[in-house]
Structure formats: structure tokens, C-alpha cells
């Protein structure tokens, strides 16, 4: 099965290269994480993984990432919609702006967001009037994670929306559907897989984010400490086994979550894969 006759030459060369590449960059570093943490006994691993501080960190990391990805799915969808469906002045500038969170050094993003949302910042001062604390709170973490996740949702939905056949919507209109029905019953179902992909990407990105969050969160253990930061703290204490145990745990859970999202996506478009 591995060796198929193909017109394109160099299967063994390219395959060999790909495997080496993936091995060097992904597999070996990741397996080191598991190797290192296997020095610990089961009881020790449990103690590290289920310490109250770690539990709080998981809660924040996964919770904030999920919320951020969810927010991005809704508003990223909206941004993609506006960018594809309407033309307005400076559209290409707005379009370029979407990529900024990827290009910007995360520390820069973190510092500017922190300033903006701190109690005496532009937005933070307004929030403070309502008794909401922007920076140095769990909300701050969500804000930072939303910021960095936005491009992933927009950029996955955009091409699919662009390729959506306008005739399908026209067909729905001719059949008597209102604009809203057309959107809900015709357009949205075709965008669910792309939105799920965008959600998964934004979520994965948010889980791994470190740079911007350390500035805005305030890093208080038990309340605003995310898992990557906890790992950093362990490393600074030269507690490598604990750090790798936490890392391995994060890896497993992330993998599991991505797997679930992917299955969901497969399920949502299963009818396209049947037979055909």
C-alpha cells in the first residue's frame, strides 16, 4: 500500500524527507516530554497533576481557551462575512488587519492589551465604572486569547464563504425562503465544517499561548495562572520532571480535544463522504 505506482517520481525520497523532518521537529521533542516525565512514579505524577494549583490552571487554560474560541467563532464569522460579502472603502486594509495578531510579537500584543484594559487605560477605565476589571483578571486572559485566535477563524471561513455558490442562495429565494431562512437553512450548514475547523485552530492556538497572557493576567497562582505559565514556573525552579509531567498532560488533553473536534467535523460532513 505504501508504494503506489505514480507518474510523479521520488516517492521514497519525499516520503523519507517528510518523515525525518516531522521526526526532528515534532516527534522527537514531544517524545522527550514523555521520556522525561516517566522518571516520576505514578503517585508523584498524580500529586503534580492534581495539585490544587495545577487544577486551577487547567480550569483557566481550557475554560478561557474555549470561551475565546467560541467568541471568535461568532465574531470571526461576522468579520469573514463582511469581508466577503460587502465592498467598502479600505477593505483591503481591514483584510490585512485581520492577520495582525499572527504577525505581531505576542509580548507587544500583551503589553498593549494590558495598558488598554487596565483600570486607568482607555477601555479599562470604562469597564471599571461598571465594576469590571479588564487586565489582571480572568477576563483579561480571555481577551488576550480572543485577540490571538481571531485570524484563524476568519481565514478558515473566508475562502469557503467566497466559494459558496450564489446560485444556491438564489434558488432558495426563488423557492420562497426569506433572507433569514436562506441564511439559516442553506448558507450556515455549508459553513459549519469551516467554522468548526476555525474553532479548533483558534482553540489550539489559545491553549499554547504564553507571551501575551503573562502580561495581562497578573499571574496570580490559583486565579489567573495559565498552564503554560505554571510549566514555566516549574522550569525556573529546576523542577524539570514536574514541568514535563504537566506538559505531557496538556499534550494528551489537547490532542484528545482536537480529536473530538475533528470527529465532530467529520460527522457534520459525513454525507459528503458517503459513497460518492
Amino acid at each position: 500500500m505504501l508504494r503506489q505506482r505514480s507518474i510523479i517520481p521520488g516517492f521514497s525520497l519525499t516520503m523519507g524527507f517528510s518523515l525525518t523532518y516531522l521526526g526532528l521537529l515534532v516527534l522527537i521533542p514531544l517524545s522527550m516530554v514523555f521520556l522525561k516525565s516517566s522518571q516520576l512514579s505514578g503517585a508523584e505524577i498524580c500529586r503534580i497533576l492534581f495539585s490544587p494549583r495545577a487544577l486551577a490552571a487547567y480550569q483557566l487554560s481550557f475554560g478561557a481557551s474555549l470561551i475565546a474560541a467560541g467568541v471568535n467563532s461568532v465574531f470571526g464569522f461576522l468579520v469573514a462575512w463582511v469581508l466577503v460579502r460587502y465592498s467598502f472603502p479600505l477593505k483591503s486594509l481591514v483584510d490585512a488587519l485581520v492577520d495582525l495578531p499572527i504577525a505581531l510579537p505576542t509580548a507587544v500584543a500583551g503589553i498593549s492589551l494590558t495598558t488598554l484594559y487596565s483600570p486607568n487605560g482607555w477601555i479599562g477605565s470604562t469597564l471599571a465604572q461598571w465594576g469590571i476589571q479588564g487586565s489582571y483578571s480572568r477576563l483579561g486572559v480571555v481577551i488576550a486569547l480572543t485577540f490571538i485566535g481571531l485570524p484563524f477563524v476568519v481565514r478558515t471561513i473566508q475562502p469557503v464563504l467566497k466559494d459558496a455558490d450564489p446560485e444556491v442562495e438564489e434558488a432558495a429565494l426563488c423557492l420562497g425562503a426569506s433572507r433569514w431562512q436562506t441564511f439559516l437553512k442553506v448558507l450556515l450548514p455549508s459553513l459549519v465544517p469551516a467554522t468548526l475547523t476555525g474553532f479548533a485552530l483558534a482553540f489550539a492556538r489559545a491553549l499554547g499561548e504564553y507571551g501575551s497572557v503573562v502580561f495581562i493576567s497578573g499571574n496570580m497562582p490559583m486565579t489567573t495562572e495559565i498552564v503554560p505559565l505554571l510549566i514555566m514556573t516549574k522550569l525556573e525552579e529546576y523542577d524539570y520532571p514536574s514541568a514535563t509531567a504537566l506538559a505531557a498532560f496538556m499534550l494528551c488533553v489537547s490532542f484528545l480535544l482536537l480529536f473530538v473536534i475533528n470527529s465532530l467535523q467529520w460527522w457534520s460532513q459525513r454525507h459528503r463522504k458517503k459513497l460518492s
Binding site: 455558490d165 446560485e167 444556491v168 438564489e170 434558488a171 432558495a172 429565494l173 426563488c174 423557492l175 420562497g176 425562503a177 426569506s178 431562512q181 437553512k185 442553506v186 450548514p189 455549508s190 454525507h271 459528503r272 458517503k274 459513497l275 460518492s276
Partner: protein, 349 residues
């Protein structure tokens, strides 16, 4: 009554898709909008459906001016060239779509919908495909689903945009016959767009010829074929030879220009089956040609010739005549047009 289109014009930027088109289509007809690609046929169809709005002019459907109405309020069914089926819905759900999106008050019950859709599925002969998704169907099957979907809302007018354009030749022929039968059964006013004259002639009982945004001629296939209104229609419908023919003023010389003496030539157009070939020189004007190629297979013998003035033409003659004359490649024959179309003030070229 039926469909009236009054002075409709439409342009996209600098491109004039339709120029002052006025047309009446009677109730219950099966009409083909025929013309070269990019001539404005689809635009006209979309304007009737309300998917495009005309720059000027009005559309009257069954006595009611619908120019300002949305597609959903026009009672039209539209079938798109590329089907535009809902990919995430099954055949059944696709066909039922128009009924399920109705407001609650006028929506039929679940059983009524099921009954209706099942009847339509039978009509389009897709009984075994009810629960399939569009991607699991062939092109012809998809087109039939699109048709059934449009018919489900009981439109007063059915509009089809190049309905068979994306199908292969055999399926296309089948579906053409099927569409005729369907029209006889359902009897809804039907307009379909095509650039294939054979298809238009075979299916429709009324033809509307549109070219470069203008209505060239409307009439029965017979009228259009035998009494073309202008050179465009004549050349567009059926095969036509255009060639130089020695004019009536034989041997008239153009003295003032000092050009070489010779017959005054004019350009004429004749259908291949109206060209006679003869070995003996005819009386009056004569035109000789050399036979380049003979295609003897088929009900007619096709003879390709080059005239003495350098035009390439094709004549269709009967098998008997071919045997009688004993034509061979390279022979010199005389070409006699039996009936020639002469449009005033044009060179029909």
C-alpha cells in the same frame, strides 16, 4: 396574458446586456430563448425571475406588474445550469424545501408534504434515490431533482437556464424529450435558455432569438427557419453558405476605376440543400466550382466545393442525384442556387 416584457434594458457597467426588449409569451407555452453565448438570454431570464432588476422597462406576469417584486413573490420556478442543489440536504429534503420554508399559516402538513414530494419524485423518476445526497447523483439526476424542486412550489412559470448545458450528449437528448413530455403533463408556462439551436427546435414550440441584447425574432421554429427576419437569424439557424455570385448586370465593367473587367459580384447566402449541382452550364449567370471533398455517408451527400471566386461552400444533394451525376473529387461543376435569401441593404456576410 402570460408573460409580457416591456422595453426592458439592462447594462452591467459599460456592457449592455439587454437593449429595449419587448416580448409577449402566451400562457402555457414552451418557449426557447435562443442565441449565441453572452447575448443576454440568461439576463432576460433572471429579470423575469426577479434575480436581476432591469434598468428600465417592466415585467408583467399574468396581468400583474411584478417589476418591483421579490423573486419569492413572483410564483416562478428557476432551474439553474449548475443545478444549485442544497448539498447538505437529501433529494427528498431538496424537493420539499420550498414547502417547508412557507410561513406556518400556509405550510402544508408533514403528510401533505410527503405525499407531494413523493409524487414529484415519481414524476422525475428518482424513486430509488430519495435519501441520497446531491453529490451521490449523476448530472442528469441532479438536474431532475432541481426541476422537481422548482415544481414543488407549483410555480406559474418555470424558467430553465441552459438546463442541459452541463450534461453529456446522450443524457441531454433523453432529457429534452423528457422535458417535452413533462410540459405536456404539467402544462406550466416554460421558458428555457439555450445556445443549441437543435435543442431549441426539438423541444420548444416557440423560439425567441436574442443576440447582443436585442430581440432578433420570435416565432415558431418553422417560421424562424423558413422566414428569417434578418441576416443574423438566417445565419444563426441552420447551415448557410455565403459566396460571391455574378450579379444580374453581366459583364458590366467598372470603367472609372480602371479595374479589371469582369462580372459584377454580389454576395449571396444559400442553405446547402438549396444548391443544385449541374454538369451542363445553365442559362444566364453561371458559377463554376471544383469539388474538393465528398462525404457520401448519410441520408444526403455532402459536397465541398471551391468556387471560381475562391469561396468555400458546401452543398447537400440527394443520393440519387449524386449517383446520376457520378461526381468525383476534382471535377468542375456548375453551382445553381434554387432559392436565395437576399436581405436589403446588407451583404449578409
Amino acid at each position: 396574458m402570460g408573460i409580457q416584457i416591456r422595453n426592458v434594458s439592462k447594462s452591467f457597467g459599460h456592457f449592455h446586456a439587454l437593449k429595449d426588449v419587448t416580448l409577449t409569451i402566451p400562457y402555457g407555452e414552451l418557449v426557447a430563448l435562443l442565441g449565441p453565448s453572452g447575448g443576454g438570454k440568461t439576463t432576460l431570464l433572471r429579470i423575469i425571475a426577479g434575480l436581476d432588476t432591469p434598468d428600465s422597462g417592466s415585467v408583467i406576469l399574468h396581468g400583474q406588474d411584478v417589476s418591483a417584486k421579490n423573486p419569492k413573490d413572483r410564483d416562478v420556478g428557476f432551474v439553474f445550469q449548475h443545478y444549485a442543489l442544497f448539498q447538505h440536504l437529501t433529494v427528498f429534503e431538496n424537493i420539499a424545501f420550498g414547502l417547508t420554508v412557507r410561513p406556518r399559516r400556509s405550510r402544508p402538513s408533514k403528510e401533505q408534504i410527503r405525499e407531494k414530494v413523493t409524487a414529484l419524485i415519481r414524476l422525475v423518476q428518482l424513486e430509488n434515490f430519495i435519501d441520497r445526497y446531491p453529490c451521490q447523483l449523476s448530472g442528469g439526476q441532479r438536474q431532475r431533482v432541481a426541476l422537481a424542486r422548482a415544481l414543488a412550489v407549483e410555480p406559474k412559470i418555470l424558467l430553465l437556464d441552459e438546463p442541459f448545458g452541463a450534461l453529456d450528449a446522450k443524457v441531454r437528448k433523453e432529457l429534452r424529450r423528457w422535458l417535452r413530455r413533462l410540459h405536456e403533463e404539467v402544462h406550466v408556462t416554460t421558458i428555457f435558455v439555450t445556445h443549441d439551436q437543435e435543442e431549441a427546435m426539438e423541444v420548444a414550440n416557440q423560439l425567441v432569438i436574442i443576440n447582443e441584447g436585442r430581440l432578433e425574432q420570435a416565432g415558431t421554429p418553422e417560421e424562424i427557419y423558413h422566414q428569417p427576419a434578418n441576416p443574423f437569424v438566417f445565419h444563426f439557424i441552420g447551415d448557410v453558405n455565403s459566396f460571391n455570385w455574378p450579379g444580374l448586370e453581366e459583364k458590366e465593367t467598372v470603367k472609372s476605376s480602371g479595374a479589371s473587367a469582369g462580372p459584377h459580384l454580389r454576395r449571396i447566402s444559400v442553405r446547402p440543400h438549396l444548391l443544385k449541382l449541374s454538369l451542363d452550364p445553365p442559362e444566364g449567370n453561371r458559377l463554376a466550382g471544383r469539388i474538393l471533398h465528398i462525404i457520401p455517408a448519410g441520408p444526403y451527400v455532402k459536397v465541398e466545393l471551391k468556387t471560381e471566386w475562391g469561396d468555400s461552400i458546401q452543398a447537400s444533394i440527394s443520393q440519387e442525384r449524386y449517383k446520376h451525376l457520378d461526381l468525383k473529387t476534382g471535377m468542375e461543376v456548375f453551382i445553381i442556387p434554387e432559392e436565395l435569401q437576399d436581405f436589403e441593404g446588407s451583404d449578409a456576410g
